[in-house]
């Protein structure tokens, strides 16, 4: 196999179906079809646009923000997130008089896994009295990429936040560097910024929407946007046969257990996993935020993570929201030949955080493009 690969260049014309045909496409695409100058020009323009516009522009005319007190019980917090349909909430500490963190879907995934393990400190009854702040303290012990303080003890991460007058570029870089999805926008007034007013929860998709809005009608000023995503190698691609690619691409069958899905989300450090059938064709997608569907009818209390499979877990979410079907909101797709501007416009829709790259016709999964991939590319970081 190894030898065949080396001489593939000479054998290109005679390649039979031992290699998949798209290997051909892939090697030719390696040739730069865009110039470095185009790329740099587009990046400069976007950078200057983002530096001159502020977060204030992202705020809707009339918006709503939900926050939780840090002394609320975890169980009730879970229900609030489910009822309000929120993927994450900022946390308010009355005693300190400021926002101290966020509660997100990842927290619930970790809690559920803790519940499932025997010998954990957390039981279902305790969820009723276990406060969010106690959970956050306990979470530090779980040793997930935590920062260490001087004594080697894990210390809590300070809240990643931004102000309404920060530039969009600062916020985008903050989101990318801290690997968060959403940043609370807080207006601090008073002595030493002691009085905090929360205004909005900003994410990369809001910033992308702003970019698309401004450049939609002058796309010639950003030439790189016309390039197909395969030529600029945007996103994470399923490694091909014979490719020595570092990261394996996470995918699961619908019959896989929910426990394995959650484990994969945590360990692979991804925010979603495509659910595929035996031919690797896309069926659905399981994201971290889908975990809140388990609050329906307190399903989390009755299930064991290893006994429920992903298909059933997704059904729970579907029953709650019958207006969404597959191929509607849930699973946004694109082709490898789609130009960058099309991918950006899709990702600019609120609620869409990733696009699955599929093969036309068969819907085989070829890769995933997320918002952070697009921004890393546009900002050149």
């Amino acid at each position: 196999m190894f030898v065949l690969r080396e001489t593939a260049w000479c054998r290109m014309i005679n390649v039979k179906t031992t290699f998949r045909e798209d290997y051909l496409d892939r090697t030719f695409e390696g040739f730069a079809q865009y110039s470095e100058a185009d790329l740099q020009l587009s990046r400069d323009r976007i950078s200057s646009f983002l530096s001159t516009h502020t977060v204030y522009e992202l705020l809707p005319d009339s918006g709503k923000v939900t926050a939780l007190d840090v002394n609320l019980a975890v169980k009730q917090a879970f229900h609030v997130l489910y009822e309000q349909g929120l993927p994450m909430v900022p946390l308010w500490d009355d005693f300190k008089g400021r926002f101290v963190g966020v509660l997100s879907a990842l927290d619930f995934i970790l809690i559920l896994r803790e519940l499932g393990t025997n010998g954990s400190n957390l039981t279902e009854e305790e969820l009723e009295t276990h406060t969010i702040s106690a959970w956050k303290v306990g979470k530090l012990q779980l040793n997930l990429k935590r920062q260490m303080d001087g004594n080697g003890r894990p210390c809590p991460r300070p809240l990643v936040q931004a102000g309404p007058y920060d530039s969009l570029k600062e916020v985008a870089l903050k989101i990318l560097q801290n690997k968060v999805a959403t940043v609370p926008i807080i207006h601090s007034t008073g002595p030493a910024g002691s009085c905090q007013e929360i205004l909005y929860l900003a994410s990369l998709s809001d910033i992308l929407k702003c970019i698309c809005r401004h450049f939609k009608h002058s796309s010639s000023s950003l030439p790189i946007l016309q390039q197909p995503v395969s030529s600029i190698q945007l996103g994470t691609w399923v490694p091909r046969i014979g490719e020595a690619n570092g990261r394996p691409f996470a995918m699961l069958r619908p019959t896989a257990s929910l426990g394995s899905a959650l484990a994969l989300l945590v360990q692979a450090d991804v925010s979603s996993i495509p659910i595929v059938d035996d031919n690797d064709s896309l069926l659905d997608i399981y994201s971290r935020s889908d975990i809140t569907a388990l609050a329906k009818d307190k399903a989390y209390a009755q299930i064991h993570l290893d006994e429920m499979n992903i298909h059933q877990a997704l059904q729970l979410g579907q029953d709650a929201n019958p207006s969404l079907g597959f191929n509607g909101q849930r699973c946004q797709m694109c082709l490898r030949s789609d130009p960058l501007h099309k991918v950006m416009e899709r990702l600019a829709n609120p609620g869409v955080r990733r696009l699955v790259i599929v093969e036309a016709g068969s819907k085989r999964v070829e890769g995933i493009i997320s918002l952070s991939d697009v921004f890393r590319f546009l900002l050149g970081v």
Binding site: K64, N71, D94
Partner: protein
């Protein structure tokens, strides 16, 4: 603090005004000018600004024409059927483009259709105007005045790499509040008399609490939760409900209270809901 309402969804107004006697002009939606204290115009009528926006979009208008150039052909199985309109193919918003400098014949070209068509403006008095219905977005345009390309110096503009100057139209889905007319809206002074700070006695507690002004029921907090993945945008709150604290007990759990309030931040409005547990 003020009176505590026994009702579940009552409001806890921070002002200690006895409702019976004082005038309610602060909370009324209409404009009541007591003794000429407020001489300003009503808070939300947009003043004529330099912005080309002169219409308040009331109801989403079906676009009069759908320029074919704006549609991206989609394969049917890849249709993105969102809960509401895709940005870009969205509802058309009427907007007026005006040229108020001299000229005999004025036409306009813009990036809304990729500079393909040239539309003649109609003369009305000293100005030339045309109305267009466009989806929300940022557009560039310029005027052809008696055969020469010009831009309107009093409107926002930008320059491209070749040194050409174009006017910019930033069309939002809503008409932003005119900040000056809001900031200058000062509530009238409360009357000097009729206040004291005597402790409330049992007699006072025996009385019925004063009724909540009905306008305070118009809070955005009572908008029913939408179960779409992307809820439709909230409407702009009435100024009367701003800066009031609302409480809701027991709906999200036996010992959970929700506190909600709507505030203004410059020209935007934010409704914040905080869930707290009630310590026993």
């Amino acid at each position: 603090m003020g009176n505590v309402n026994a009702r579940e969804d009552g409001s806890n107004s921070p002002s200690g005004v006895e409702e019976g006697e004082s005038n309610n002009s602060v909370q009324e939606e209409g404009i009541i000018v007591p003794d000429g204290l407020m001489g300003q115009s009503p808070p939300h009528s947009p003043r004529a600004t330099h912005s080309p926006l002169m219409f308040t979009p009331q109801v989403p208008v079906v676009p009069l024409q759908r320029p074919d150039e704006m549609q991206i052909p989609n394969l049917s199985w890849m249709q993105t059927s969102s809960g509401y309109e895709d940005m870009g193919d969205g509802v058309g918003i009427p907007t007026m483009i005006t040229w108020s400098h001299d000229g005999c014949e004025v036409a306009v070209e813009g990036s809304w259709d990729n500079w393909k068509t040239r539309i003649a403006l109609q003369r009305s008095g000293k100005d030339f105007t045309i109305m267009k219905v466009l989806p929300s977005g940022v557009y560039q345009y310029r005027f052809l005045v008696d055969g020469l390309w010009k831009y309107a110096p009093d409107l926002p503009s930008t320059q491209d790499d070749d040194g050409n100057v174009y006017n910019i139209l930033d069309l939002q889905e809503y008409v932003p509040d005119d900040l000056e007319s809001i900031s200058s809206f000062e509530p009238p002074q409360s009357p000097e008399t009729s206040y004291n700070n005597l402790q409330l006695t049992a007699e006072d507690f025996a009385k019925e609490p004063p009724l909540v002004p009905p306008h305070l029921q118009m809070t955005l907090l009572n908008v029913p939760a939408s179960y779409m993945e992307i809820p439709p945008p909230l409407s702009r709150p009435q100024h009367v409900v701003l800066n009031h604290l609302y409480m809701q007990k027991g709906k999200s759990g036996p010992s959970v209270v929700a506190l909600g309030s709507t505030h203004r931040f410059l020209a935007k409005y934010v409704t914040v809901v905080l869930y707290k547990s009630m310590q026993r």
